[in-house]
Symmetry: C2
Subunit: 449 residues, 2 copies
């Protein structure tokens, strides 16, 4: 056991997670610098390759360059692979590898996964990772199959249809948000079949792995003894509420604006798709820069909230938002405890939620201020949109990304990183000394951030 | 005892406070519609008179019209009177009146004052109000005297110097933010004497009455037994820190921008004055629309935080901000309790702080979204600045106020009202059923919001 290994052992689990993500970004960056990944004659600067690597590992999808114009087929396949790495979570991959080579998972490694997926129970970690990877690959395979078969009508060769089908499925399921059409899903604005498939894939990726695993257990349950956890109830209810509110508000704000000349079903699908996408998907069926400023601010708020914990998405996470809302309602009624679905929320979770919200708000404000200085040409709302999109690992943009200065790129990369790792982990990474298990109680709890 | 009086009795204290403020606004509105308050030939619409009334009662200072071009000397004196009403607090005035006419202050009325000034102790309320009014009037009188004598060099008649001296003193001390120069304090950009006097008056008004009262007790203390309260220590430290950080950040952001051609002392005073003013004063020695966008966002954050509780200012209040910061530091270190100045902060106060911050953030976001729709010509940052200025009852503006649509005016009026009443009172006003004393503990506590 040498000194450097000793040093790794002394890192807190949260620091190790950040270190793993750093390694994944470095590895992805190197992959994207391999010969043959770019189209002939295309030169990509180091910072732009790094930006693409961070964006793909964090499954954000913001990009300073056009994927289809820049990368060869090999490059596109590598990008799919990186999104896969990011979507499943570097930690799960790492631990799964340990499993494969026959090592037993020790307490330390179990803790790592536990925090990466915000799981509070120490048992079942190994099975959890297997389940995560199985479910994600199954969903992606079904999505890729359906889309490939459907795309054969648009492309001359099956290989082309397969490339587009597989890429779209991976990009949607991992909420990667990258596209190889050169214009996101705008070509499918009137193709509700593709939209419904993509919406389902995005939701399955963003709803959170615990929800999927519990849903599977529920379906397999024979004697009716299965009970959904409080976490699953809260996150699913919040996710659904955000989708519905998002769709309705976008409809109201844009009905007289960018939706002016649309049929009712076009309006509905445009609002629904962009509401789903702002959860963390990042794909778009409409040029979001056509939306009004109020809609842009509203979508910034949606992206700030982000997806479920233990999912492929970022942001403050749905449960954090839900607990803040529940707290406010209870506080306004003069109650000091929060009860929901016949359970009481732990005080510590309320505190975690507040810490995440306030820090995230501060982070977004400071980032916006920096970009207001470094991007003097850019519109303030475009900057807010870009920053919240990065923090929510969403990937929607009002067109600012390719125009970013080097400092702007670094800020956006940092936000994508923090958004993916999660602010709670990030706090512990910086704090260093604390033991995250201080915040874990034996009873049933809700996952925050 | 008739039915309508019974209804008043059934109102919660917080609802009564809101009702009192409504009455004060109505009364002020009527005063501003009296014959002779306007200059000859000037017509003011009803909504503009209402806006001025709300702005003066809430001591905000945002104005849709130029005071000096619109109001006669009588009108200006009425405006000073309304700022006085707003500054001292309608509740104090009401209770002081009860005192004057010999009525004993009952439990119900004591509670009203207690909440209006966020005081948690039931005793000493009567003395508190007397002290508040005495101290405020004393400060104003000294300020008016000094400024009037100084202004005699600028004005031909003593009456003119007195009008300007008294108005500036009242506007500064109550943090009213109105001006009768037509250009705030821009004419005094190089007059550091006037600036220092105004800075002192603004700070004395915004630092919080309890601080002034304790400072007085400290000065009168003979045997050294006097101890400053935790509240006074926290609010004063936060206030000073915000002033210093505000000055430094404005200096850094503007040194290469609007301060480019200034001498060092001009830069310093310009940064200091605007930092003090964004606490809640609202007067300006420089056209803040010359500042860069990052500075505007930063000042919006300062105005959002606002002044001390139990002061003439608004916003989420300094203590709310301080507790949030202290909580984050302690949370990052893995501690679940907050210790400061050798005291522990009550959990309930932490909860109140979070409720205020999250609600205020939501309120600002929704207001900005509304104005983005109703003011299509306006710049997004100018809207954010206007909204936070109203919520912080600050009164600085990037020039949007006179351009506001009717809906915009209503939104800004509502924010000035909520900012002055305080969000905590406002929550209880809406909730209605709760008893605010649920949130009061017998031990030493910190005032929030
Ligand atoms: K994404
Ligand atoms: K003011």
């Amino acid at each position: 056991m040498n000194i450097s290994f000793e040093k790794v052992r002394n890192l807190t689990p949260a620091q190790l997670i950040a270190a793993y993500y750093f390694a994944a970004i470095g590895f992805s960056f190197l992959l994207l610098r391999l010969p043959g990944v770019h189209r002939p004659g295309i030169e990509v600067s180091l910072i732009d390759s790094l930006f693409t690597a961070v964006s793909a590992v964090s499954v954000t999808g913001l990009t300073v360059l056009s994927i289809i114009d820049t990368y060869s087929v090999q490059g596109i396949i590598i990008l799919m692979f990186i999104m896969q790495l990011g979507g499943i979570g570097i930690m799960s991959i790492g631990t799964f590898f340990w499993l494969l080579v026959g090592k037993r998972i020790g307490l330390r490694e179990r803790q790592l996964i536990m925090i990466d997926h915000n799981q509070t129970q120490m048992s079942g970690v190994v099975n959890l990772i297997k389940e995560i990877i199985k479910i994600l690959l199954l969903i992606e395979a079904i999505g890729a199959l359906v889309l490939t078969l459907y795309f054969t009508q648009f492309y001359e060769t099956f290989a082309e249809a397969l490339l587009h089908g597989a890429f779209t499925s991976v990009s949607a399921t991992t909420n990667g948000g990258f596209d190889i059409t050169g214009a996101s899903l705008l070509p499918y604005f009137n193709d509700y079949f593709v939209q419904i498939i993509v919406i389902l894939l995005i939701i399955l990726g963003a709803i959170g792995f615990p929800v999927l695993i519990e849903a599977k257990a529920f379906l397999a349950d024979q004697d009716g003894s299965f009970r959904f956890s409080l976490f699953t109830k809260i996150t699913t209810a919040t996710f659904a509420a955000l989708l519905a509110v998002g769709t309705v508000v976008i409809l109201i704000l844009e009905a007289g604006n960018s939706f002016r000349n649309m049929a009712w079903h076009e309006m509905f699908f445009a609002a629904l798709f962009q509401s789903v996408s702002s959860r963390s998907g990042g794909l778009a069926t409409i040029d979001v820069s056509l939306f009004g400023e109020a809609t842009n601010v509203f979508m910034s708020a949606l992206m700030f909230i982000g997806a479920s914990p233990s999912s492929v998405g970022g942001g403050i996470r749905t449960t954090t938002f839900a607990i803040a809302i529940l707290f406010l309602i209870n506080f306004g009624r003069g109650k000091n405890s929060i009860k929901v679905f016949s359970r009481e929320i732990y005080l510590t979770d309320v505190f975690r939620a507040f810490a995440v919200i306030i820090l995230a708000g501060f982070l977004v404000m400071v980032s916006v201020m920096i970009l207001l200085v470094t991007e003097p040409e850019a519109d303030a709302i475009a900057i807010l949109f870009e920053i919240t999109s990065a923090f929510g690992t969403c990937g929607l943009s009002l067109g600012l990304t390719p125009e970013l200065s080097s400092i702007g790129k670094v800020v956006v990369m940092l936000l994508m990183f923090i958004g993916r790792v999660g602010l709670i982990s990030f706090i512990f990474t910086l704090g260093g000394k604390s033991d995250p298990t201080n915040f874990h109680f034996p009873k049933e709890r809700v996952i925050i951030g």
